[in-house]
Symmetry: D2
Amino acid sequence: MLTSCSDQPGIVAAVSAFLFENRGNIVDIDQHVDQDVGVFFMRVEWEIEGFALKRETLAASLEPLMERFSMKWSLHFSDIVPRAALFVTKENHCFYDLLSRHESGELAMDIPLIVSNREDLRAVADRFDIPFHYFPISPETKSSQEEAEIALLREHRVELLVLARYMQILSARMIAAFPHRIINIHHSFLPAFPGARPYHSAHRRGVKLVGATSHYVTEDLDEGPIIAQGVTAVSHRDAVPDFIRKGRALEQSVLSRAVWLHLNRRTLVHANRTIVFG
Amino acid sequence: MLTSCSDQPGIVAAVSAFLFENRGNIVDIDQHVDQDVGVFFMRVEWEIEGFALKRETLAASLEPLMERFSMKWSLHFSDIVPRAALFVTKENHCFYDLLSRHESGELAMDIPLIVSNREDLRAVADRFDIPFHYFPISPETKSSQEEAEIALLREHRVELLVLARYMQILSARMIAAFPHRIINIHHSFLPAFPGARPYHSAHRRGVKLVGATSHYVTEDLDEGPIIAQGVTAVSHRDAVPDFIRKGRALEQSVLSRAVWLHLNRRTLVHANRTIVFG
Amino acid sequence: MLTSCSDQPGIVAAVSAFLFENRGNIVDIDQHVDQDVGVFFMRVEWEIEGFALKRETLAASLEPLMERFSMKWSLHFSDIVPRAALFVTKENHCFYDLLSRHESGELAMDIPLIVSNREDLRAVADRFDIPFHYFPISPETKSSQEEAEIALLREHRVELLVLARYMQILSARMIAAFPHRIINIHHSFLPAFPGARPYHSAHRRGVKLVGATSHYVTEDLDEGPIIAQGVTAVSHRDAVPDFIRKGRALEQSVLSRAVWLHLNRRTLVHANRTIVFG
Amino acid sequence: MLTSCSDQPGIVAAVSAFLFENRGNIVDIDQHVDQDVGVFFMRVEWEIEGFALKRETLAASLEPLMERFSMKWSLHFSDIVPRAALFVTKENHCFYDLLSRHESGELAMDIPLIVSNREDLRAVADRFDIPFHYFPISPETKSSQEEAEIALLREHRVELLVLARYMQILSARMIAAFPHRIINIHHSFLPAFPGARPYHSAHRRGVKLVGATSHYVTEDLDEGPIIAQGVTAVSHRDAVPDFIRKGRALEQSVLSRAVWLHLNRRTLVHANRTIVFG
């Protein structure tokens, strides 16, 4: 369960008492108070086995407690695996990395489909027997293509979109259809070098570290809530292709960490920032 | 308050209810269950202002609750600043760093005295007007000198010993006098390169990263519970003096982080490992 | 060209004069003197286009110069791509990562075959249409199986062996057949935690960083010359499976960096240490 | 010797031949070609002992060679220690760190004076017996005060200015008086968060890493050539004061690394980027 509300006395006491009384064995509890804005956040994980309340009626049973504190909350069951669509273009490294971690069981999700604006990576999808949907996008077709994508994603009951170096800007409409459910990897240390060709900009600026940032997509390009970031050292000996090469491992690890955190319900968003219960 | 006990249902509920009923405004609560060994750990920080129980009787009031769960626990008040002694030898960088952070208020402690087995850094202590106690140590005098040190430390009601590149091995007796209250900085990524001259060993081994480790001192040399670690890159171009130079900034930052964590009561030790509520 | 010899005056002058006189346009030159042992190392990369000497006779032309300084040297042409065999067992992450970087052109090598002591990853090799050779190993069959492997590798003119989480210890004979041509990834920050199950040992020791080390395999297990290392942060909240998960991205990036360095002839070995002209 | 010129064949051959013929024992040579702009950079370090040319006439002897390649070049002798002025305001951590490294011999420089726009750190300067010059700055007095500073710095033959968290923007005139001789530490990962209060901005943006950047000061605020950068992890649990605390160790290490590189003549600037022969 993920919750947030205005900070007030007695929240932890009330929630933990509720679980204790219903014989909920707490596996993990983590909470945070943002003192600046007076907001309380909590993630509680408990075992369903031995729990006094039935899964079907749990939400209803929690309702009064949640209302008492005016909580925003969501319930997740670890045996119900989220359905995710991967969006790709040409670069294969994040794509393979996600597929490999999915195959090994690290990333607990179903991947009913791949979406791409190019054909380049169809062969990779084929290798993994995942349906590959090609949606070429031009300024004229963008709107209708995205509508088709949304329909397809809904049909497949997709909950999460992972942009694995997807080289297309999503429209506001598409983003609104999946609020805080689209994870992007940007190949810079945001807010440095937003937009196109960040490695080129980083090289021109002469930085000594290059970065990668995974974030939830919002309407403001590359300005959504950051989930994870990483950096790696570069020097004057590194030309742009070296930046790109060194950045690949970083992009992979930062994106897969962010996806893992989301899938394990360890992220909350407030005021364009994430609370990450790592 | 720092507590630990066997994991069992209802701990969080009971403690948070106790605080809620006594109008204790929780500022920060962090807990952890080590599933492997079935031990529960918790750190709770609440405001004394507005709290229904008096500081003097608080411990007695908590006693029944603590007994119910067979808790090990300790209470700390943030306005009572720990008293720490710095142990130094020749190297000045960690010494200056601790003094600078103490002066700026980052490290909330009193430093009633400096202890050294050499005279080299007396001038630095003098600059900061902190009494410098010189205890030369030879195999013959070690035992009596340490006894004198213990007496002096007790006289000054010292709670924490910080070995800021102190180049002497403490005896079991001395360590027993300050259990989990002696913090050392070792200039390697432990457990690699324990003992003397780790940078020389690291260079001989040809590592590509050098490390630093801050840990509580136990009888087993360089094997105590680790509080913080860091690394920095080296290359074949770096000779031993370069390892030493690059390691300095690391030693400073790792030691001061560990001391900060201890002073802010964010560390618990169990089975030779630390729980760090960072 | 990679060279090393006893340090002596005039080496750089002689080599650069040789290239200048033969109109060799130097693209990159990097050298290093290990002052401790008095050994000189150099890597020079120049363009073959416009160069006065023919590829076929170049070695013979260089011979007198190399003899004058008693140099050990090797010549490589960037358009002749090394042939590498990947050794795998069960873990797929390094395997996929190498295949992905190979596919994208980052790792310029041919992969004529995969070797494994288990069948688990045959399907992955199949997906990439690379022949998968299964060599089950028991104490009784080890010697004969390795002989068969060596024959197969020679038949395929394999120059480099990459152990991508290959869970078998190679015999001295096998190692001698490919001196400094077998790259392993060990999932710890060597020399900490050599041998089996390093994440378990790291967790037991309570470290705050876990590491990965890529090195050339020598007869001494996990003690060969280190090519690349990396670390990532862990905390008390991380159990062994979390160490394993967090270590994966590290292993991938450290191994692929090491393989890239080798393929681009940027490594030299001396006295069990590497010179890495990154 | 530090040199740079248009890339052209024969530079290394000519310089190394010159040194060899004059019995200059090369200790270290490092060179770099920026292929994008076609510029060659080199740093050569050789022993003056046994060298055939006298120190006094060396520059004249080098002149023809340098002219042949139209080189920009500078000669430095390691026994002539640069004179540096430290500029400080209120924060003491970088100040102490530089003083400590100076005292230990790591930073080979003379510090004839401290400059500050506030009185706060006079006591620290006094402790180290270094003259402290107080130059309060207001919009009205800025110009005249800077002129006085420049006069004072020239009088003391100061070559390098180190802004150790100096909270004043230097005028174009002051910067022009010390081109690429003023090193600043900015408490962010530039180009992210230039200008005032970067930790506040970083916190508001919700980054997961905070950084520090040391650079040469140019007229464009926080846009000068970067010498060194570093980052450290932060989380949602860290408020602005935690960012500041965690950033301190970073600022120290990044600034002292940059100063060390400059003092050891390991930096060259071209097109607003540095070549760092680390």
